[in-house]
Symmetry: C2
DNA sequence: CAGTGGTCTAGACCACTGT
DNA sequence: CAGTGGTCTAGACCACTGC
């Protein structure tokens, strides 16, 4: 019954060791993401602990956003929630009060030797090639974003061939279906700069106007960097909110 | 033994009703903030539930940041953690690589009839007066912030008399000691604008340079708005980060 | 040493989901 | 209806804190 892996520190509380076990299973892809993970009863038997301990381990993972429970159906591996993304904070309505349809267009695709900061963000050796996408996005409010996206070329090889029109508005499901690469989390960084002439033109603002720069590193469930993205949008339509407690 | 208050919906799980009870006690100030709240055993008896239920209620409150446990000492009401504040994201080091000593100076104190948006943020009728403070802050990195602070004048009456030099760098402990007003949480909003001449001069940047505006509403433990604050700092030294999962 | 929270167990019963 | 997670109980033992 006792199917513990090696290496977990026996001094840690049981529920924490169990938590590590479950995270390993998720990272390794051992449990398919569209089916429930083993039931509480199954885990209880497999690891020879009490239900309460299994519940506590799962509780912490639910809390950290890795799992999601659904009464009567089971416990599932959660997809990251990009509602928390900084992109959400471009204003919901444009100057005329209209909400426009979000849209996305790939302008260019090139193979590129990554510059040092990009290679570092992707944890790639600089010799490795990246697939670079230039993209123009329209958000719900009509704001325009100019995006540069770098992907490790070997991992995303299939994307080299596919026609640009077939890239959808949502890239992550596309990565998953075409390349089997699943995004499990991401880290975003916000800074502000002033628009140079080219950016200003693309965003429909004046040169020198403030621009919000959002950088994102997207990671797999095993924490491998999968995508590095740098997006620029007009700062005038940006409004971000935090709760402190 | 059964000391439940009225009004809690009997259809809710016990631990959620207990949670509400505890939140009420905190909001009402019934439990002093510097002493532990009643022990698990005491709550078990007082509300006639099992320890596990008390633990679960407290767990959720710890998780939401209202309480804080300390093994062997007890469970305490937590103070809000302003490390989560957006202010933390002005760069840690200035252009010369020095870290300077944070500082703060009150430039002016006036009684003001609040403009409509400020009255709304403080949930005050526009007839109510506010005490307005103008303040210049230096952060660890040497960035300068220009701050405007509005307080409900009646609630903060003692501050009308005190000499400006006696206002410390940290205002919240000062509010508490002088006026008995404790801050329990806050909401911050970030936007970007360009510096007008006056702001540019105060911040030591050029007119038209981008400026980060942070608005903050600070609330008491009972969710009453206590302070509205609007701060402006140079956008060039600002860098904010979020995790998505 | 007494008192506190932390971990772990064992099991009852309820509520929801899919068939 | 069978199977899943959700709530609640009761109690043992451990680890830390302050006296």
């Amino acid at each position: 019954m006792n199917q513990w892996k090696q290496g977990s520190d026996a001094r840690l509380p049981l529920y924490q060791r169990l938590r590590e076990e479950i995270m390993d299973r998720i990272a390794s892809g051992e449990w398919p993401p569209d089916k429930p993970i083993p039931t509480e009863a199954a885990l209880t038997q497999r690891y020879d602990v009490a239900v309460g301990t299994v519940r506590k381990a799962i509780d912490t993972l639910v809390h950290d956003g890795l799992l999601e429970r659904s009464q009567g159906r089971g416990t599932f591996i959660r997809r990251p929630d990009f509602d928390a993304s900084l992109f959400r904070f471009f204003r919901q309505v444009d100057a005329a009060g209209h909400a426009r349809v979000p849209d996305s267009r790939i302008l260019a695709r090139t193979l590129e030797q990554p510059a040092e900061p990009i290679a570092r963000a992707l944890a790639l050796p600089v010799e490795e090639q990246t697939l670079k996408l230039d993209r123009l996005r329209t958000l719900e409010d009509g704001s325009v974003l100019k995006e540069e996206i770098w992907l490790p070329a070997t991992r995303f090889a299939p994307l080299k061939e596919i026609e640009l029109e077939r890239f959808g508005t949502l890239l992550y499901p596309f990565y998953e279906s075409q390349c089997g690469q699943r995004v499990g989390s991401a880290r975003e960084t916000l800074t502000v700069e002033t628009a140079d002439q080219e950016t200003a033109q693309a965003l429909g603002i004046a040169t020198g106007d403030p621009v919000v720069v959002i950088e994102r590193v997207a990671l797999g469930y095993d924490r491998t960097p999968l995508e590095y993205r740098r997006s620029r949008g007009p700062a005038a339509t940006f409004r971000y909110q935090v709760e402190i407690s």
